[in-house]
């Protein structure tokens, strides 16, 4: 079996481009009225990028079949960590969803994204196609995760997990109508979910429908985010020249709202170029799908591209105000170590699939 064009090189070029853009935007977002503040964040990100590349190389040498056996263990570990965070977090002012490991802190909900991709790949690639074994059981496992993460509370990750379940389900060979049943069932129960939302999360959802309800809080962010993006116009204001960003109108602009910095400084042209790069990346990961014979590998790589796509779509969608603000990083660009590491590890796994199918 031979893939026509090895996607690995193209993907590496795309990711290097994204790394550079990420550092530039981070550098810019840390400036305030011309002053470079919080340089430590910038340095930390460089270290994270180096570590992530190392992980990518390591993971590209680990046989992906290994994750088939690992999936349940990893899932179990992830449950333990999530429960640990909830129990531990309550003690310290109810304010922790991070685990400190030495010099950096790690967010266990990132690990659960990988764990869920693994178990879904395992279940959906199972030759038996009974509703109970292939759909209901994995759905239950995913829901346990969703529930625990929802409790943290991290609405963004919880919704990513749900979307992953349905996307992988629809694209795999499992009968589509099973998932339609689940979706209809889900809609019937959705009013219940509202009860679990924290008050500020409920506020965010109402604000999504009408930003003027809360012009100081969540609405403020949407309004300012749109102003930043829109004012970039076609060609942008240029590097380090975004006024929205420089005058500190936007909170969290180096993490979840990094896209506004890019949009303001590079304009529509820059944004379209960035979207093309993302598309190239997604296409390269999904183009060889039909040629992969091992169904586990097939769903695994599908999971990897879906994971990237969902982060891109939801994050940019929320900065544009077409999706509610749920707090998700923009893949490869936002500041933060956990999600960067996870993305690179996933790419490493995909590279190994490519190697095994050469």
């Amino acid at each position: 079996m031979k893939l026509k064009l090895t996607p690995v090189k193209t993907i590496i070029i795309c990711v290097i481009f994204l790394n550079i853009l990420s550092l530039m935007s981070l550098y810019s977002s840390l400036h305030q009225a011309g002053e470079f503040k919080e340089q430590a964040i910038f340095h930390k990100q460089i270290i994270w990028i180096v570590i992530s590349w190392a992980c990518l190389i390591i993971f590209s040498f680990i046989s992906y079949r290994f994750y088939f056996d690992l999936s349940f263990i990893l899932y179990g570990l992830n449950l333990v960590l999530l429960i640990f965070v909830i129990v531990f977090g309550k003690r310290i002012m109810g304010a922790q969803r991070w685990l400190d490991i030495g010099f950096f802190s790690f967010q266990p909900s990132e690990l659960s994204k990988i764990a869920v991709i693994f178990i879904l790949a395992r279940f959906f690639s199972h030759p038996e196609k009974s509703f109970l074994r292939v759909v209901l059981f994995p759905f239950a496992l995913v829901m346990i995760n969703v529930f625990l993460i929802f409790k943290q509370p991290d609405l963004g990750t919880a919704s990513i997990l749900l979307f992953l379940f349905f996307m992988l389900g629809f694209f795999s060979k499992v009968r589509k109508r099973y998932f339609i049943f689940l979706l209809i069932g889900g809609f019937l129960f959705s009013p219940l979910a509202g009860k679990f939302l924290k008050s500020y999360q409920r506020k965010r959802l109402t604000v999504f429908l009408n930003p003027n309800v809360d012009p100081l809080g969540a609405g403020y962010t949407i309004i300012q985010s749109k102003i930043a993006i829109g004012s970039g116009k076609i060609f942008g204001k240029g590097f380090l020249s975004g006024t929205q960003n420089q005058f500190n109108f936007l909170p969290e602009r180096h993490t979840d709202f990094i896209f506004t910095v890019i949009a303001e400084e590079w304009g529509l042209a820059g944004c379209l170029f960035l979207l093309s790069i993302y598309y190239l990346l997604l296409r390269k990961i999904s183009q060889g799908l039909s040629k992969i014979r091992d169904p586990f590998a097939q769903i695994l790589s599908l999971g990897i591209s879906s994971f990237f796509f969902l982060h891109i779509f939801i994050n940019i969608g929320m900065t544009l105000g077409i999706l509610p603000i749920v707090g998700l990083p923009l893949i490869f660009l936002s500041y933060g170590g956990s999600h960067l590491l996870i993305s690179f590890i996933l790419l490493g796994i995909f590279f190994n699939i490519c190697r095994s199918h050469k």
Binding site: A95, Q96, Y200
Partner: protein, 563 residues
């Protein structure tokens, strides 16, 4: 699987984003650019009032008072910043470096006011406003104030701006300028006390003048919290401890309601609020920020003996009339384990009243280390007591297994003897010791101590107790021994007899590096115990000093009719 479908879904999704971007940037770009240029939107924060904290008699312990700050708007004073701040300093007699420091610390965005002079009096405010006109703003703010700073520092804690911890707090709805409780009740019950900050969202022109009003969110006041503490008792306890390092706890024996909990030395939380120099508290070798009642553990010394006594009775190893002969010590493997006196033949009652070491060495040998550890744990010496204060520390109960695992050494008979008189590796916090001894006062219950009484007007007491299942007869035998310590001839706590309060209790001198620690733990009146008390002096010399403090403390309470 059709690769085209997958790719098409991705392409479709990205196209939706591209189209929205086209709409915002190409079609509406001009509109948003105009808004960005005129984006002189300013948030003027309106701080919420934090709930007050009261004692059981509604005396106010902590409250928000209004203070006046002088603020500047960075954007407006950009060009003349240095000269203006210098003038301000000269005119107000405020340190110019401090003004600059406040400016740099408070700078958030160039359109939001920054407080540069904090907490100045009204007449000065008016003078400054007259002199500097529109260059400055008067910014009235709520500031936390503690009525009895030293007396309540450990119990109440203080408040800080959330900004430095904002990253970890923001997911829970905190805002950077909001105040968050730190240590004590302020931290533990922050959720009740904290209100919700609001703000005015106003539009200003390039000159910094308000041209439009976009919205307001009114601040919400936090809830008032009433504690079970009696402020008068707390003050007396603090006074009596004075310069000594130590702890006084007075508690309701049945419910676990705390009347007074004092740790000394103490500090002034108001210093932390006003941004004054707090280095002297941080550098102090006696660690005044440390709440010794719950955050530190010490060897128990003889206060452990009642627990060993009841263990021996319950395990059926002795009867109340079992006697051991004290000849001033006991010789084990060529090592002398001494008693503090020569007591002769003694039974359990006398052993407790006179605090005879030899008696309890013998019990230790009979029971063995494992059984003693089991009983120490049963009395909660290695678990959290669940008081509503943050950072409680639990004690430690050693076992032979632990010593092998952790230190790689065997457990010797000497370790057993040390454990039987509360020496060696065993440690507990004063609060744990108090609740352990209190079991003998209230008929066998380990109660949960608490400080919170009411939130606004709602009773919020969290009462809980665990029944230890010890026979009433055996509890009473120990209780009689504890009464003996005060009433009997040669009792170790006879000094307290003079108070006529019918006290029962146990003294303890815990040997440690340097001066010994002194303990007195007890309850009264012994017929129907209402109060449980613990007095602990860190390196106080001996139990006698602790007894002295207990005596003075209870005498004052009696004189002032507080019991």
């Amino acid at each position: 699987m059709d690769k085209n479908i997958v790719s098409r879904v991705y392409l479709g999704g990205l196209l939706i984003l591209a189209l929205s971007l086209f709409y915002y940037q190409a079609l509406k770009g001009e509109h948003y650019l105009r808004r960005a240029k005129n984006n002189y939107v300013r948030v003027v924060p309106l701080r919420s009032i934090r709930g007050s904290i009261f004692d059981r008699n509604s005396r106010v312990l902590a409250y928000d008072k209004a203070v006046f700050n002088i603020a500047v708007i960075p954007h407006q004073i950009e060009k003349k910043k240095n000269s203006l701040l210098k003038e301000l300093a000269k005119f107000s007699d405020y340190d110019v470096n401090l003004i600059h420091r406040n400016y740099n610390k408070g700078l958030n965005n160039i359109f939001s006011p920054v407080d540069v002079i904090l907490d100045i009096n009204k007449s000065m405010v008016l003078k400054l406003k007259e002199r500097f006109k529109d260059d400055i703003l008067i910014n009235p703010q709520a500031q936390r104030h503690y009525s009895y700073p030293y007396e309540f520092a450990h119990l109440l804690g203080y408040v800080k701006e959330a900004a430095p911890f904002y990253e970890s707090l923001k997911k829970y709805g905190y805002r950077p300028l909001e105040r968050v409780g730190f240590l004590g009740i302020e931290q533990y019950h922050d959720a009740y006390l904290k209100g919700e900050d609001g703000g005015d969202l106003i539009e200003v022109n390039a000159a910094g003048r308000t041209v439009g009003f976009l919205g307001v969110r009114k601040p919400k006041r936090g809830k008032d919290v009433y504690l079970t503490i009696d402020c008068r008792i707390q003050k007396i306890a603090h006074q009596i401890l004075g310069e000594k390092k130590g702890v006084i706890i007075l508690m309701d024996s049945k419910s676990g309601e705390i009347f007074s909990l004092v740790s000394s030395p103490s500090f002034d939380p108001n210093f932390f609020i006003k941004g004054r120099n707090v280095q002297r508290f941080l550098d102090n070798k006696n660690y005044p920020l440390f709440n010794r009642a719950i955050q530190a553990t010490y060897p128990l010394g003889s206060t452990f003996k009642p627990i060993i006594g009841v263990a021996a009775l319950e395990e059926g190893k002795i009867t109340p009339s079992t006697k051991f002969n004290c000849i001033g010590g006991i010789n084990i493997a060529d090592t002398e384990f001494s008693c503090w006196s020569v007591h002769g033949e003694e039974n359990l009652h006398q052993g407790l009243a006179h605090s005879c070491n030899v008696y309890f060495y013998n019990l230790g040998i009979i029971l063995g280390a494992e059984t003693m550890a089991k009983w120490a744990k049963k009395f909660g010496l290695d678990s959290l007591r669940g008081i509503d204060l943050p950072y409680e520390k639990k004690g430690f109960v050693p076992t032979p297994q632990w010593k092998t695992d952790a230190l790689g050494k065997h457990w010797f008979l000497g370790d057993t003897l040390n454990l039987s008189i509360g020496q060696g590796f065993i440690e507990a916090s004063p609060l744990e010791v108090l609740l352990g001894i209190n079991v003998f006062a209230n008929g066998g219950y380990l109660v949960r101590p608490y400080l919170l009484w009411k939130v606004d007007n709602a009773d919020s007491r969290l009462r809980a107790k665990t029944y230890l299942g010890i026979s009433q007869g055996n509890l009473n035998i120990i209780k009689q021994g504890l009464i003996g310590a005060i009433e009997a001839d040669g009792g170790t706590a006879q000094l307290l007899k003079k108070l006529n309060l019918n006290i029962a209790g146990k003294t303890g001198t815990a040997q440690t590096k340097g001066e010994s620690h002194g303990w007195f733990v007890g309850f009264f009146p012994h017929q129907e115990p209402k109060y449980a008390i613990c007095v602990f002096l860190e390196h106080g010399g001996s139990s006698y000093e602790a007894l002295g403090v207990t005596y003075l403390f209870l005498k004052r309470l009696k004189e002032e009719n507080l019991l």
